[in-house]
């Protein structure tokens, strides 16, 4: 008689192999900051002068320190440089330095005064790629509450300068009334918090942030409780651009979904994927259907409540909702709105309302709850602490706008410049969006970086790029440009222990 044992070894029958250990995804240690959330009752009576004033006042003290240490007692041509209080206090022939805000006067920039004078109430959205023009009509000015002065000098070409960045300029006034600049200084990187600073604070019951001494004393006991982050990663994607008509990258989006779920590749790779503890979507998740709307408004369309409901296509947001509701059971997601997303057009963009995602809504936090939900819809720009590292991220509008001001393609250089200016969106009230630019801040200007992040990412960029910059006090920042998925089919993985970057490219 044939026994089971014989058959088993012959190769015809096999015992079921051991069930592969179901992989567990690493947990995500996450503390978002609500620095860019605006309150519900917004006032629009104030002017943008308040925003510029706040920015200058907040950055001025540290910039004056930097300039003092650099230019104190410097002698050029038998003259020592003196500090002047206001921009208009510079005198002809006197060597001096002054702190102010930069204003770039460019004819190619959209100008509200021109629109009003030509009796056009709404200007067509500017289609120029760059405001910068080579013909010398652009001028750089330095401004503060007393007035403006034009800056000239070859040294200006060495630096990235855009409207709204705060600089200290040393030089002298020449015969034309222009300020001839010899040297420029920026505030440089702000102080960088320690790793795990926010989590430690919340563990202690959110005491006010006192100096390092207190944290150092308790450092010994903290070591045991600080979670391990061996090999943990986060994934950052942007420009997913779910769209009804455009399906050229739909296959890759599906592959991305399966990749993050761990459904594809072999168990070894899946083990690595299980280390991805969080997904951050940095803008442009839902493509806008601009063309369809334009055609519809040409014909006589039935308009009710001011918009034509037949032109609305619910497909993109439904596709995106399906995508994230499949992902959400296994991985927490942080969602930043982008320029194409259904969030407000002015900068800073407020979180996309969870009502846009009927299925994924179940994973958001209850309004009024203390902690973030599994799906955290956040502002653009966004600041938070993930695995102890302070992260600052935007969906690209700030960098794209700066790109228009300068004669260069070096996006990483511009990113570095925003860190050194200590302002993530210096062009914010001036040109940042087509519609009412930015919110006119009156009490506090959140674009000024008070603390230096460890990781700074900008989404919806045409290409991937990364670098590390260092600051004068030993700050180290990893800068990453996240490419738009719809164009490049790439997502970025960040190792949470070393902040190393790797990209994953999907090809169908």
């Amino acid at each position: 008689m044939v026994t089971l044992k014989d058959v088993l070894n012959s190769g015809l029958l096999q015992k079921p192999s051991d069930e592969p250990q179901a992989l567990q995804r690493s947990e995500s240690n996450y503390t978002p900051l609500r620095s860019f959330n605006l309150g519900k009752d917004l006032q629009y009576q104030q002017q943008f002068a308040d925003t510029y004033f706040l920015r200058l006042t907040k950055i001025k003290p540290s910039l004056e320190e930097v300039a003092n240490s650099a230019w104190e007692g410097i002698v050029i041509g038998d003259e020592t440089a003196k500090k002047v209080e206001r921009v208009l206090d510079v005198r002809q022939g006197e060597l001096c330095w002054v702190v102010g805000t930069v204003y770039m006067d460019m004819p190619a920039k959209p100008n509200i005064l021109e629109d009003v004078s030509k009796d056009r109430w709404i200007s067509a959205p500017s289609t120029v790629q760059k405001y910068y023009s080579d013909d010398g009509l652009d001028s750089v000015m330095l401004e503060d509450e007393s007035g403006r002065i034009r800056l000239v000098g070859n040294v200006l070409k060495k630096f990235f300068l855009v409207t709204g960045c705060i600089i200290a300029a040393m030089g002298t006034e020449n015969a034309n009334g222009e300020f001839d600049v010899i040297d420029l200084k920026f505030a440089d990187l702000p102080p960088q918090p320690e790793r795990w600073e926010l989590s430690k604070l919340s563990q202690k019951g959110a005491r006010s942030v006192k100096k390092e001494s207190k944290i150092k004393d308790e450092d010994v006991e903290m070591k045991d409780s600080s979670p391990s982050t061996k090999g943990k990663k986060i994934a950052i994607a942007s420009g997913l651009e779910f769209s009804g008509p455009d399906t050229s990258y739909a296959m890759e989006l599906n592959l991305l979904l399966e990749f993050l779920l761990g459904d594809i590749l072999d168990p070894a790779a899946q083990g690595e994927i299980a280390q991805i503890s969080r997904l951050i979507i940095a803008g442009n998740s839902i493509a806008s259907e601009v063309k369809a709307v334009e055609e519809a408004t040409e014909k006589k369309s039935h308009k009710k409540y001011g918009y034509d409901s037949t032109a609305y296509n619910a497909q993109p947001s439904k596709l995106f909702d399906d995508f994230i509701s499949e992902l959400l059971p296994t991985i927490p997601i942080t969602l930043l709105p982008g320029v194409l997303d259904p969030a407000n057009a002015s900068y800073p963009q407020q979180p996309i309302h969870p009502a846009m995602f009927p299925r994924a809504r179940a994973y958001t936090s209850i309004p009024g709850a203390a902690g973030p939900g599994w799906l955290d819809t956040v502002t653009n720009p966004w600041e938070g602490e993930v695995e102890g590292w302070r992260i600052l991220g935007t969906s690209g509008q700030n960098l794209d706008d700066i790109f228009k001001y300068v004669d260069s393609d070096d996006r990483l250089g511009m990113m570095e410049a925003t860190c050194r200016w200590r302002c993530s969106a210096p062009t914010a009230p001036d040109t940042l969006c087509k519609l009412p630019g930015a919110y006119p801040f009156q009490d506090d200007e959140p674009f000024v970086m008070k603390e230096c992040p460890h990781l700074y990412f900008i989404g919806c960029q045409p290409e991937f790029g990364t670098t590390v910059i260092t600051g004068p006090d030993g700050q180290v920042v990893r800068l990453v440009l996240i490419p738009s998925f719809s164009a490049t089919r790439e997502v970025v993985l960040v190792d949470m222990e070393t902040l190393d970057i790797s990209t994953v490219k999907f090809t169908a």
Binding site: Q47, A49, D443
Partner: protein, 199 residues
């Protein structure tokens, strides 16, 4: 005219579920019995500044889905406003006497070396108003247009610019006296006025 919203809402009100009650309008129509207590205790603009304290002291009443500005909520608000804590700067400002305010203004006038040619235009103004207008044109504290004077002072204080405490003293005194005209900069009214026939 299409059917107004009100009528459609009333017809839908016959459903069994508890609904949001819009009978209590957002503009807080207070029942007559409470009107006196509220009017007596609530100082007008000071209370606006202390929204966070007020919100915190109102006890959260969860009454299903009905949003009601209940008379009880109003009463607790009325009780809470006098208990509001005064900030450090306010306490200092309250101690400033009228004599020191006059002395402060005298100092400013003495520092001006040019002859006072336009003094007659300032005849109708009190010293308090003159001090406030001088504060308005002090550009180191930021633009004075588009923001209330009190808020501008507090913002300057927060940013460490050391605004003169006499200004806060005048503001508190005028607000306590119920003077609404000093809330915003005079220039604000001039700039915001619209001429007839302008587009």
């Amino acid at each position: 005219m299409p059917a107004t919203r009100k009528s459609s809402r009333q017809s839908a009100g016959a459903s069994k579920q508890s609904t949001l009650s819009f009978n209590h309008r957002v503009t807080k129509s207070v029942p007559k019995s409470v009107k006196d207590t509220v009017a007596a205790v609530k100082p007008s603009s000071l209370s606006k500044e202390y929204v966070p304290e007020r919100a915190a002291s109102t006890p959260p009443k969860v009454e299903d889905l009905i949003i009601e500005d209940a008379p009880s909520a109003q009463q607790t608000e009325a009780e809470a406003t006098p208990e509001v804590e005064k900030s450090d700067a306010e306490l200092r400002a309250e101690r400033i006497s009228a004599v020191s305010i006059d002395r402060y203004w005298g100092q400013i006038e003495a520092s001006r070396t040019a002859t006072a040619v336009h003094k007659k235009h300032g005849d109708g103004l009190t010293i308090g108003e003159k001090i406030l207008r001088y504060f308005d044109v002090s550009s180191q504290y930021g633009p004075s247009v588009g923001t209330a004077r009190r808020k501008r002072w507090e913002r300057a204080d927060r940013l460490g610019l050391n605004p003169p405490i006499e200004v806060l003293a005048v503001l508190i005194k005028e607000q306590a006296a119920g003077n609404k005209a000093i809330e915003r900069a005079h220039m604000d009214e001039l700039l915001n006025s619209t001429a007839v026939g302008s587009v």
